[in-house]
Subunit: 870 residues, 2 copies
């Protein structure tokens, strides 16, 4: 028979998979001699067995639990639910990874009409005994039988009213007896059965409830989000009760060995005298700060401080400790690595290195890269946020916090007034307004929609795909459920969670300090992946360099074209009927485009700057309003109707798969020639001014090597011409995006013609899956909830599909050209999990939006450290 139950004397902290985190730590604390109430753990394998047997507790596990209960009775000298000296236990879930949404705790299990009397006698405290009993019934009914808690609270409130007291402590033994009777009545009514009196039945029902809660919806969602395997199961810890509610020499509390909000090296905790654990959490009584214990129970306080120091040292990390004091004696109920803010994580990690407790590489592994976002952006004050209820929730497209008045068109955004721009979806025409807005909220679009990408680039708070909002653009209002928001009404966006609130919420600044700087510096000592940035403006470049970017991996040229200055010649170029007309328009653009690059090269200096030539379909640049078409038709001397027809003719059924990227350059090579000239003229100007430059020209959307060969020839020709006319040469690289599945499959051929590859994983993901980024939010939610996709492939690289294609591409390319430079410039370049994958693929660099550079640095360092550790 398989062993499924383990006493705390067996095992240690390394048995996490088998005993769960809580069980392993209870075993560990028992092993090192700390005062832990005795007990045992029903292992995760019992949970797996439970599910394998179609949600049925086997006789084997039942009898092992029975045996361990007997041993526990024996060593405690008590009898489980007995009529004298009764043994009571707590039952708590404990998976290998801590997880919200699961059933938590049942205390005082073992009480019934008999044992409560014994407990009263034993403790000489009838009130305590009956209080414990009513607590048990309430807790068991709530967490095991799913009876709403408020039904019991109503009874207590009535009893308090009758008694004329305003807290439960004011009630007497008699009152609790009454409560117990009434509680049993509620139980019968709700379940159709009498309350379980047999302690062993109580125990098995609770163990089963824990197992069931492993698969409750919240737990499933949490596992999906965090990529936790659903088959590992949870353990259950059964521990003899100790009581913090046996009068003023008893108490209970929780403490962190350091401050979990700031990381300050000082015990941070709260406790309550004469209370059980739930009272601290429930918020009915206000707990005291842990320092108060120094006066109230100096010896226990000292002992607890020593335990804290010991546990932190033992676990080499900040601990989160639960304890109970029963009649002056300290018991430890749990210890675990404490959750902390990003600020605290970095502070604790850096301090512990300086205290000699951990190594630098260990410190780097201690910080969750994604959490760093909190430090870079304004955030809502957590205390204030707690008071608010969100109106609705979208995708957390770009972090930060924003409050402001709603505007429904980009034109309605006024400089500096801090509006929130709300749109069905943004388009390149909205850029100006987006730049001025405080925050952006879109109804459509996913994590890589236009709004999301642009907002992240700007470091601006954005929520996308908030499909529960009904937007009536004409009437300038939006409706969320029964709340109507008019233009000018105030809303708040939490870009970190995707939640939308009504009204304004106070904010606090991001927290970049010297500790942060030091930590970031350390990441540089470990990481091997280069970290570049996706930046289109001088401002982006400056931000990214401040955060440690080592170059530009993607400089999109199309955003530059939306300037009022440039859009008209761009439009002229597009609707030109002849090459001559087109060249006239391009000649107007050349000096404007050159100026864009002059600033960028100057800012980046010797760092490599990868410029992607024009990518989007041309109709994105064309006017759609009749007024603008009229203006263009006059400028170009074209009949209005003719021009309108031509604009219609450029529309596409599937623009994502249409005439864009290098396909434009095959049809109109003059465009890329102009851009190549502008890049080189800007580079030469800087070089003449003593600024070192490293331009890299990148051709987008190549799917067939002949496209690259053709376009490259034209681009090289244009550059040679600049070198001749300027009488100046400089080094540059010419490469391609890999963003079409066919490019991956034919990378051997493409590598012959390219000096570098940059994986455009946004498009590669779209095309490999056949998911339009603008349309897929309609079904990706359902895909996640039905467990068809474990995660959104636009957030983290889909390793099994897109990743296999990337691997194939890397292998084919390296076999052809060993020294080819490989990078990634999709949004995945800022996602820690994807960065680890790219590190494994052997890429040379990742590129991400400026505000993700620090995240990428940490993730890259972690990937390197993990792979070295093997």
């Amino acid at each position: 028979m398989k062993k499924l139950v383990y006493s705390f004397e067996m095992g240690d902290k390394s048995w996490r998979d088998l005993l769960g985190g809580k069980g392993a730590n209870l075993a560990e604390m028992t092993k090192i001699g700390l005062p832990v109430p005795q007990g045992f753990t029903v292992s995760t394998e019992a949970c797996k067995e439970y599910y394998e047997k179609n949600q049925w507790l086997s006789e084997n596990v039942k009898s092992q639990i029975a045996v361990h209960m007997m041993k526990l009775e024996e060593s405690m000298g008590k009898k489980f639910g007995g009529d004298e000296n009764p043994l009571l236990v707590s039952v708590r879930s404990g998976a290998a990874v801590s997880m919200p949404g699961m059933m938590d705790t049942v205390l005082n299990l073992g009480l019934n009409d008999t044992s409560v009397e014994a407990l009263a006698r034993e403790s000489q405290n009838e009130k305590f005994a009956w209080d414990s009993y009513r607590r048990f019934i309430q807790m068991f009914s709530d967490v095991v039988m799913d009876i709403p808690k408020y039904k019991f609270d109503i009874v207590l409130e009535r009893l308090m009213e009758e008694k004329g007291c305003d807290s439960v402590e004011g009630l007497e033994a008699e009152d609790f007896k009454k409560a117990v009777e009434e509680f049993k009545g509620i139980y019968v009514k709700e379940t159709g059965n009498d309350f379980l009196t047999d302690p062993f039945d109580q125990l098995l029902a609770t163990v089963e409830a824990v197992f069931k809660s492993w698969n409750n919806p919240r737990a499933i969602v949490y596992r999906d989000i965090n990529g936790i395997d659903g088959s590992i199961g949870t353990a259950v810890n059964i521990q003899s009760m100790v009581f913090g509610n046996l009068g003023q020499t008893s108490g209970t509390g929780v403490a962190f060995t350091r401050n979990p909000a700031t990381g300050e090296k000082k015990i941070f905790g709260e406790y309550l005298l004469d209370a059980q654990g739930e009272d601290v959490v429930a918020g009915i009584r206000t707990p005291k700060e842990i320092e108060g214990m120094a006066d109230e129970m100096p010896e226990v306080y000292k002992e607890f401080m020593d335990v804290c120091a010991l546990l932190e040292k033992h676990y080499n990390d900040m601990q989160d400790i639960e304890f109970t004091i029963e009649k002056g004696k300290l018991y430890l109920l749990q210890t675990r690595n404490g959750k902390r803010t990003a600020q605290a994580a970095i502070k604790v990690a850096v301090d512990m290195v300086e205290e000699g407790l951990i190594s630098k590489d260990e410190a780097i592994l201690r910080v969750d890269p994604s959490s760093i976002n909190q430090l870079l952006h304004k955030n809502f004050d957590p205390k204030e946020l707690k008071k608010e209820r969100p109106l609705t929730e979208g995708l957390p497209a770009s972090p930060g916090a924003a409050s402001g008045r709603v505007a429904f068109t980009a034109n309605d955004i006024k400089q500096g007034k801090g509006e929130i721009l709300v749109r069905l979806e943004t388009s390149p025409e909205d850029i100006e307004g987006m730049n001025l807005a405080e925050g952006i909220l879109t109804i459509h679009g996913g994590m890589t929609s236009h709004a999301a990408v642009v907002a992240r680039g700007m470091g601006k708070c954005c929520i996308s795909g908030c499909s529960s909002i009904e937007l009536d653009e004409a009437a300038k209002r939006m409706v969320i459920g029964d709340v109507v928001i008019q233009e000018g009404d105030c809303i708040s966006l939490d870009g970190g969670t995707g939640k939308v609130y009504k009204g304004e919420i106070p904010k606090r600044e991001g927290m970049i300090d010297s500790t942060f700087e030091k930590f970031m510096e350390w990441t540089g000592e470990y990481k091997s992946l280069g970290i570049r940035t996706n930046a289109d403006t001088v401002k982006d470049c400056e931000t990214a360099i401040r955060f440690g970017a080592e170059g530009i991996g993607l400089c999109r040229t199309e955003h530059m074209f939306f300037d009022e200055n440039k859009i008209w010649p761009v439009r002229e170029m597009i609707v030109s009927k002849t090459s001559y007309e087109r060249e006239q328009a391009l000649a107007k653009l050349l000096p404007l485009q050159k100026e864009d690059f002059v600033g960028i090269f100057k800012t980046m200096g010797a760092r490599p700057v990868t410029v992607r030539l024009l990518d989007p379909p041309l109709h994105e640049f064309l006017p759609h309003e009749d007024d603008d078409i009229e203006k263009l038709s006059k400028d170009m001397n074209i009949e209005f109707r003719d021009l309108k027809n031509r604009i219609e003719g450029l529309k596409e059924f599937n623009p994502m798969l249409g005439h864009r990227g290098c396909r434009l350059a095959v049809t109109y090579p003059e465009i890329y020639e102009m851009q190549a000239k502008a890049i080189m003229l800007a580079a030469i100007e800087n070089k003449r001014n003593g600024v070192d430059v490293s331009p890299e020209i990148m051709i987008p959307l190549v799917g067939e090597v002949n496209e690259l060969t053709y376009v490259k020839k034209r681009v090289q020709g244009a550059i040679e011409e600049v070198f001749r006319t300027e009488d100046f040469k400089l080094e540059y690289k010419l490469g391609t995006m890999i963003e079409v599945p066919r490019a991956c499959v034919t990378s051997d051929e493409i590598a012959k013609e390219a000096e570098f590859f940059s994986f455009g994983t946004n498009d590669l993901t779209q095309i490999t899956f056949g998911y339009s980024r603008d349309d897929s939010p309609k079904f990706i939610g359902e895909y996640k909830s039905k467990e068809i996709l474990a995660h959104d492939p636009f957030e983290s690289i889909d390793e099994r599909g897109v990743g296999r294609l990337m691997k194939m591409s890397v292998d084919l390319a390296k076999a052809e050209k060993g020294n080819i430079k490989l990078g990634i410039c999709g949004e995945h370049g800022g996602d820690p999990k994807s960065i680890e994958f790219c590190h494994g693929l052997g890429l040379d660099y990742v590129s991400c939006s400026p505000y993700r550079v620090p995240i990428a640095r940490v993730a890259a360092a972690q990937a390197e450290i993990k792979s070295k550790r093997g």
Copy 2:
């Protein structure tokens, strides 16, 4: 020094690659003792060298040509361009594969002011000599120097007018002398140089012109279309002249050993007395039928008949022979396998098997599968067609010929009136009108556009992507250049070439006869690939079975939904807000859908029928006109505005990559459940009536195995329910389309859940390349002309890209499940080149539209025969 020039005495027909087709056959005929004028061949390797040396004739090749000229002079006893007994030569190009667009022939080379006199003396025919000279100047100027021919014709016409004769034969020696003088003047004016008098200079210039013509645009396009490697080069044949224009005992002609139009076993040819080769082709004089020679020159006729019989037997194929008779002596100038119509190809192949000349497998290889189209559809009478000039040209989307009055909307098509439907692009709403139309012409869309796919399915003539037409739908007219076509005007479409004509052109029927049937039967003895059809209606099924289809590889269910009967419940289903409403609508659809399948199963009997469940995005079914929306809003009891918003909300940015295929079924599993039930109910009904059935259910657009697992479970559940309620079970298969790149890459996982894969290469090509089938015609033309793509990947499978993904999929799937059934149901399933590729991949079957089934059968048999031959 590399040998680059070969005399006809060396080599034979197997030296094709080195000597070109013409040269190899001249060598062969020389070898078997036939009367071939002596000469030599400048090999294809000389051409390659010419291009390697950057278009420069090396001293080596020049001196080898000189040596061979000297030998030729010696053996002929004549002097090249000499002042007595002058040697004249013809120069003709000859690549390994015959190819239009290349420089063809220069005759009488070696003439100059001296040798013409000698020729006059020698032949005692001054007129002949000067006529030959003026011909030479004219031909040399035209084909070598690119001087327009009409400039010379004007001179001849003036001379004839002066002389008062109406043909060139009326001119005398003196007139030709004048012509020569004037021709030289034109030459000087056009080239800036004197006419070349040195015969050797003339020769080298002509050889170089042949080499240059290898890379002229027409030749390049031809090679691209036919997949001929551009690096193989052409050879040049230099042959001593014989003269058919030395009076009434001389002549020239061409003959086929069998009738090239019908295949009839009877020599078919034409000749002219006192003429040079060009006269037969030029059409100035009307040639006589070859039988006339029996009277005019009985001995030569008999000799020629013997030669024809010998050559056909020697080459084992119908020969196309050029000959000249000089003063009663027969000379052979060329023999080659004769081009023939599909009808002739099949007749000749079948006859030759029955004559014991070739084997059946050889006969099958002799027929170009694509040409079979000609036999299955009405065609324009070639003689009539010759007289017409096309207005414009689009893509030959579906073969056949159609004439009729133009209608610009599907609603304007009246039953049986034979209109031509002209649209920007068709949509599923147009199906009814398309079915009634005589032919279909679209401005947008490629070879796999909606119009193309549907028309091929219907066996109806269609031209797509005819982008030179400006369509003004509002005004109901279209403009092609300066021709305006109004509604009701008559046009003609040639679906085989994509050409559009004005007015009506007489047609002739397709030609399916017993020879065709016999040939098709033979293919069945050889092919290993199964041939299925893509069929959605009973009519399609009947056509396909008649052509030899062995099952249905793709039965699309969406076309069924566009019936007036079905579209309304479909719409109700789509706009349903609740599952309950949706199930109500589906309940209405179930019996209607079942009826569709009852007929199909009955027609197909025991043959497998693969039904693809609903695939297109739902908004394709929704009304877009306010009237229809109004009607639906009343039926559904929904506010008009609310419904209109909901319809708007279903629109997608990139519908190709949107909410369609199995993604619909993940969101609304009820739809597939209804379809699965309908299929099984129909199958059971047939089975109960004694009809054997083999249903196969196919899930579209799977990209992730979990999609298939989820949908499969629901579909199987629905089927089990039918089996229970009907108390009847039957065998069925459940599989998936492979049409998303990610499905190829994860085929190992998907194979676990699928009994068969069917490659949907239309979508797979679209998505792998990232080319929308509706938008790519805008640039694919340019891609072909710029040699970026050798062929349209929607016509033939892109083996290097899409093919690699298919290979990966097949390998992964077979490794997981050795007996998995693999097929293809994209349009490529009817393309011979793609069929050969699928055969190589090891697929079990191909599926194509009914009218392509015979083509597929031949291609499949050829693939098998070729692979067996190795």
